[in-house]
């Protein structure tokens, strides 16, 4: 299998960011109440993650390394991610006001989604090429989106079910997430 596609598939399924590496759990739990808003959140995160991994590569190899400024890596990545998140918030607010209202604080919180910074830093650590970095970011984003949308759909169905008293609310969500995580653990070892 060609390397980029391998990276893409393995980040979506085998090393899924949410279920295997446990990154980005805050929006996974918080923004999965409704299917529609989960789709919006997934799209916004995909946009931010993919562009952030591309931009962080450019900053790392064309600014930080030539000027010997690697010690500023984390803070400059955070600034770039924050700007991308603000940009996506402006676009969402203008085009999808209801989605913006529902997601509320969770859109600015993409900035602190550890998956975003995690992808940028992991790319540098593994010294991936530009194209590979983008594939890694896209794979992480698609994996996150898959899980978020799946979880939202399950939660929406659960709303209409009779759940025993002690399991209502956060408890059943945690159990569902745990079962999903177990299922994704089943992919472990499928990459080389």
């Amino acid at each position: 299998m060609p390397e980029p596609i391998f990276i893409l598939l393995s980040t979506i399924f085998v090393n899924n960011f949410v279920m295997v590496q446990f990154l980005g759990l805050c929006p996974f739990m918080g923004a999965s109440q409704k299917f529609d808003s989960a789709v919006g959140m997934a799209a916004a995160t995909t946009f931010v993650l993919t562009l952030a991994s591309a931009a962080s590569y450019l900053v790392e190899y064309y600014i930080l390394i030539p000027f010997d400024l690697q010690y500023l890596r984390i803070i400059s990545f955070i600034v770039i991610i924050a700007a991308l998140v603000q940009f996506s918030e402006i676009v969402i607010k203008a085009t999808q006001p209801l989605l913006h209202q529902i997601l509320g604080i969770f859109i600015p919180l993409i900035t602190t989604n550890c998956a975003v910074l995690g992808v940028a830093l992991l790319n540098v650590n593994h010294s991936r090429s530009f194209f590979e970095s983008i594939m890694f970011g896209l794979g992480a984003a698609l994996g996150f989106s898959l899980l978020l949308v799946m979880f939202a759909a399950i939660r929406e169905k659960q709303e209409h079910k009779q759940i025993p008293m002690p399991f209502q609310g956060a408890a059943i969500n945690m159990i569902t997430a745990g079962l999903l995580s177990l299922a994704f653990m089943g992919f472990t070892g499928m990459d080389r």
């Binding site: 803070i75 770039i80 924050a82 700007a83 603000q86 203008a94 006001p97 209202q101 209409h160």
Partner: protein, 301 residues
């Protein structure tokens, strides 16, 4: 050496900040805020009684406040149904009605004890939907159909001749007896027998959310009762669907009524604005002369 390193770092962050700030500025110019789409969606869910029990001067201001982050449980006339609809729309959790705003009660209308009315017109000014007719020194009366039961006319009346009478609500739906039935086991037999190709087990799942059930063609149910017969869990499906249908109808008629009341309210608002704008001051002599000249010119040819 030290100084140049610090300078390089500062310069780097300044450049990144400036570039991204510039892009953000441009994009915020390009994508303007599209304004109050959400407010009108929220406003449609409110009962439009304009009663101000929530602490805002009407339903629209409360809708604006909700969008800005106010609690959704401050509307006593809407009751639990409104709170649930708002929670659905905004993705929030359902909360009990805020008792400090008032309690949810059966719909009421105001009624004037007409022999006692002194014709002061104070209640006419208070009515948010122009449901009171009358004139100075004349008896007033309330148009029964237009009254929203907001009680805003009760307080201003100097002779206390306005009563609130509660409307009799006839129970439209009978509670379904689920005592003999077992939970649904999703066997799917009901789907096979349904002459309308509906999915009764799915409809059962959405029995408390009429909008969702309608998207599964609830209104196509002909209430033939076949699904009741074949159900191994003995669930009274047809009776449940009748109730859901009724709830869907109620929802629609309520929103139609709310829309009508809102149109009356906005008409009153625009009338009030127009009447304050039309107060003329006496024209000065020069203005009179020019006005007269204009009239004379028009008459001459």
């Amino acid at each position: 050496m030290m100084l140049t390193e610090i300078l390089a770092g500062v310069l780097l962050l300044a450049v990144i900040g400036l570039v991204s700030g510039g892009v953000l500025l441009l994009s915020s110019r390009r994508w303007q805020d599209s304004g109050d789409e959400v407010t009108s969606l929220v406003n449609k869910l409110l009962p439009q009684t304009q009663c101000a029990q929530c602490g805002y001067p009407g339903c629209k201001p409360y809708a604006e406040a909700i969008v800005a982050g106010e609690a959704i449980n401050k509307c006593p006339p809407g009751g639990d149904n409104t709170i649930r609809a708002l929670a659905d729309l905004l993705g929030k959790d359902f909360v009990q009605l805020d008792e400090s705003c008032g309690t949810s009660q059966a719909p009421m209308v105001a009624l004037i004890r007409e022999p006692e009315c002194i014709g002061c017109t104070l209640c006419i000014k208070a009515c948010p939907v122009d449901a009171i007719i009358g004139a100075q020194q004349m008896m007033h009366t309330i148009i029964f159909e237009e009254c929203t039961g907001c009680e805003l006319c009760v307080a201003p009346c100097p002779v206390d001749c306005i009563d609130m009478i509660s409307l009799e609500v006839h129970e439209k739906t009978e509670p379904v007896h689920l005592a003999d039935s077992q939970p649904c086991i999703h066997c799917g037999i009901c789907m096979e027998v349904c002459p309308q190709d509906l999915a009764p087990q799915q409809l059962l799942l959405f029995k408390n959310s009429p909008t969702l059930a309608e998207s599964l063609r609830l209104q196509d149910c002909i209430e033939c009762g076949l699904c009741d017969r074949v159900c191994p869990s003995k669930i009274p499906l047809t009776a449940i669907f009748q109730n859901t249908k009724q709830a869907a109808l109620d929802q629609k008629s309520e929103s139609a009524k709310a829309e009508y009341i809102e149109s009356r309210f906005t008409r009153r608002e625009s009338r009030l604005i127009a009447s304050t704008a039309n107060i003329h001051k006496r024209p000065s002599k020069a203005e009179t002369a020019s006005l007269l000249a204009g009239i004379n010119n028009r008459q001459q040819p």
